[in-house]
């Protein structure tokens, strides 16, 4: 066990190390941002750092999802119980950090720790993530602006949340329906989440979808 860890450390390369460091920093920043100022004690920060470091060591498992849910739960608790103000900037920043945790986890899970990584892999991956974050920020701002009138009325917050949730649910349903359908006019394609074996020579071919 120790020998294996030492060998892994000896073979560690810069590319995967940077990706995992970015993952750790994103997770730590998300947890720190979500926590209320009164709850930022030393033991809590230590626990948060340990939790943030976990996905960096096992990015392929459920730990990134656990960190994202923990940050969202902390955010909800901080704003409900500790009266932390909900501002657009903080919501967008937290959403950005959570998406970075998700995206960098996917990259870190795909990259072996001793891989020699071409620089363009990291640049392109990060550029796509930032593009997504920017698009989501624009979308979120527009949605919030549209729902601002509803939120001011009695019970309007629930209506606004329901409408936002409904929009997201419809988008997800459309996405899943599109994923299950083969690409138009091109015949059968890769079906996410399935392993297909078409014969002895197709051993090892698979199409997987990261959930």
């Amino acid at each position: 066990m120790i020998g294996r860890a030492v060998r892994t450390l000896e073979r560690l390369t810069l590319g995967p190390l940077l990706v995992r460091s970015g993952l750790f920093l994103s997770a730590a920043a998300a947890l720190l941002l979500a926590a209320p100022p009164s709850g930022r004690s030393a033991p809590a920060i230590l626990a948060g750092l340990v939790l943030a470091a976990a996905p960096a060591f096992a990015p392929g498992g459920p730990l990134p999802a656990v960190v994202i849910l923990a940050a969202a739960a902390t955010w909800g608790l901080a704003t409900e119980a500790f009266g932390q103000p909900v501002t657009l900037a903080r919501v967008l920043l937290l959403a950005t950090l959570l998406y970075l945790v998700h995206s960098l986890s996917a990259l870190a899970a795909a990259l072996p720790s001793d891989a020699v990584v071409a620089p363009e892999v990291g640049y392109r991956w990060l550029a796509r993530a930032l593009g997504v974050v920017l698009a989501a920020a624009v979308l979120s701002t527009a949605t919030l602006a549209g729902l601002a009138g509803l939120a001011g009325q009695a019970g309007g917050r629930h209506v606004a949340a329901s409408l936002a949730g409904l929009a997201l649910a419809v988008a997800l349903a459309a996405l899943l329906a599109r994923s299950a359908r083969p690409p138009a006019g091109d015949g059968p394609g890769v079906i996410p989440g399935t392993v297909r074996r078409t014969g002895a020579h197709a051993r090892g071919r698979r199409g997987t979808m990261e959930a």
Binding site: A72, A115, A136, H201, E210
Partner: protein, 439 residues
């Protein structure tokens, strides 16, 4: 992603918190954006796999890996080059391809034992060039490789089709070798060796009185004028010779450390064979090779530069084997020329080698045994009796060598240049005596 987004959206709706719903927005947007174009085309024959082509819808999107090696000749210690190409036949680019090639340990490629991560745009290929020193002779494989392509921001993954590995031929380093002593018996009618028979050649044998049949240009006028009688210069004929290299590869011993490390039996055998063959082929002799081992291969005798290249190629396929072919098949009367010099490169480990050498000598061949066993061998195991057994085995081997010498087989340890001069002189002396054994 879907589960996470659903959970956050449900929590936001239940708690009446639009901000919690919006935390999931980048996840939903990112997934939707990534899956806007998915790989997948009409199925086509999967050409990358070995065997019968099969229609596979996944194969249409799978990366194709090919291996190519540098075309130049590489010797031990030289620079070997191999290129691994990852092709993307589909219209959707690979965000990431993780490629883990399997490379022979004797090819010291820089980062050759590590996975490589590259980006492959749609309908193009990415080349990965590996270069490094070739540490040992042989045919070294580059490939296969395990490649996984990720697309749609890592949401979809697909393994590559199996590809045929490439081989890098690395020729043995030929230690400098010289043998000034003449071959024991010439075989052909023309060549570079001074024979012991009179004839038309460049080596002066003496001056004798003119006899009918002598050519006028052979008349030695000085001696003729002095003696008042015609004399001619007699010369020895020049002949070529045939060399048979027998490679005893019944067993391997020692641990090979490559070109810069210790040499095993096989290393010494192959490098010595390359050096001896190169030397005699350079002098214009005919050289043939015999593998005394499981494969029992033969290389027909020939001379010239082409034969040298053939010998080097032939040596690359040497493999140790425990079972030997029957003696008659390798050394029968129709297999070896009676005038050939037989140089047996042997570690004298196997029990069959000694009788084989003795039979060759009894058959009237000119045999030289070159000892290829490394000077130092690690004693296997920690048993206290292992050292004693090792010493006993060494003594038995010395007895075998002594017995071979008594039978007329000179045994010499391989030491590069000049290794064979002393024993060749001995064999040449033996060759002048009448043969007692029938051929």
């Amino acid at each position: 992603v879907v589960l996470l987004t659903g959970l956050l959206a449900a929590a936001g709706v239940l708690l009446g918190r639009p901000d919690v719903v919006l935390l999931a927005a980048p996840l939903a947007v990112g997934t939707g954006w990534a899956l806007r174009r998915r790989p997948g085309r009409k199925p086509r024959p999967a050409t990358g796999c070995v065997g019968h082509p099969q229609l596979s819808p996944l194969a249409a999107a799978a990366p194709e890996v090919t291996f190519t090696t540098g075309g130049g000749r590489v010797s031990e210690g030289g620079e070997a080059v191999a290129t691994i190409s990852v092709a993307n036949p589909g219209p959707v680019g690979y965000d990431l391809v993780v490629l883990q090639p399997v490379v022979s340990r004797w090819l010291g490629f820089k980062a050759g034992d590590r996975p490589h991560a590259v980006v492959v745009p749609p309908e193009s290929a990415a080349d990965l060039e590996l270069a490094g020193p070739a540490r040992r002779w042989g045919r070294h494989r580059v490939g296969p490789a395990h490649a996984v392509a990720y697309t749609c921001d890592g949401l979809l993954a697909c393994d590559a089709l199996p590809a045929t590995p490439a081989t890098v031929p690395v020729y043995p380093a030929t230690a400098p070798f010289e043998a000034d002593e003449a071959m024991p018996r010439a075989a052909g009618l023309a060549g570079t060796h001074r024979s012991r028979r009179p004839g038309h050649g460049g080596e002066l044998a003496g001056v004798r009185p003119f006899a009918p049949g002598d050519r006028l240009r052979r008349v030695d006028w000085r001696v003729s004028l002095r003696t008042r009688q015609l004399h001619v210069a007699a010369t020895l004929s020049d002949r070529d010779a045939e060399l048979v290299l027998v490679l005893d590869v019944l067993a391997e011993a020692g641990r090979s450390g490559g070109v810069a490390g210790p040499a095993s039996v096989l290393d010494t055998t192959v490098r010595a064979a390359a050096a001896i063959a190169g030397h005699y082929l350079h002098r214009g002799d005919r050289v043939s090779l015999v593998e005394y081992g499981r494969a029992a291969r033969r290389l027909r005798p020939a001379s010239g530069h082409r034969q040298h290249l053939t010998v080097l190629e032939w040596l690359l396929d040497i493999e140790p084997g425990t079972s030997a072919a029957p003696y008659e098949r390798l050394f029968g009367p129709h297999q070896l020329s009676p005038d050939a010099l037989v140089v047996v490169l042997t570690p004298l480990i196997d029990d069959r080698t000694g009788p084989m050498l003795a039979r060759l000598v009894r058959a009237g061949r000119f045999v030289v045994a070159v000892d290829t066993l490394p000077g130092w061998l690690a004693v296997p195991g920690t048993d206290p009796h292992a050292g004693l057994a090792y010493r006993l085995w060494r003594l038995e081997r010395e007895n075998t060598i002594g017995a071979l010498r008594e039978h007329g087989v000179p045994v010499v340890t391989w030491a590069g240049a000049g290794s064979l001069d002393r024993v060749l002189r001995q064999v040449a002396r033996l060759a002048t005596t009448p043969r007692l054994a029938p051929r």
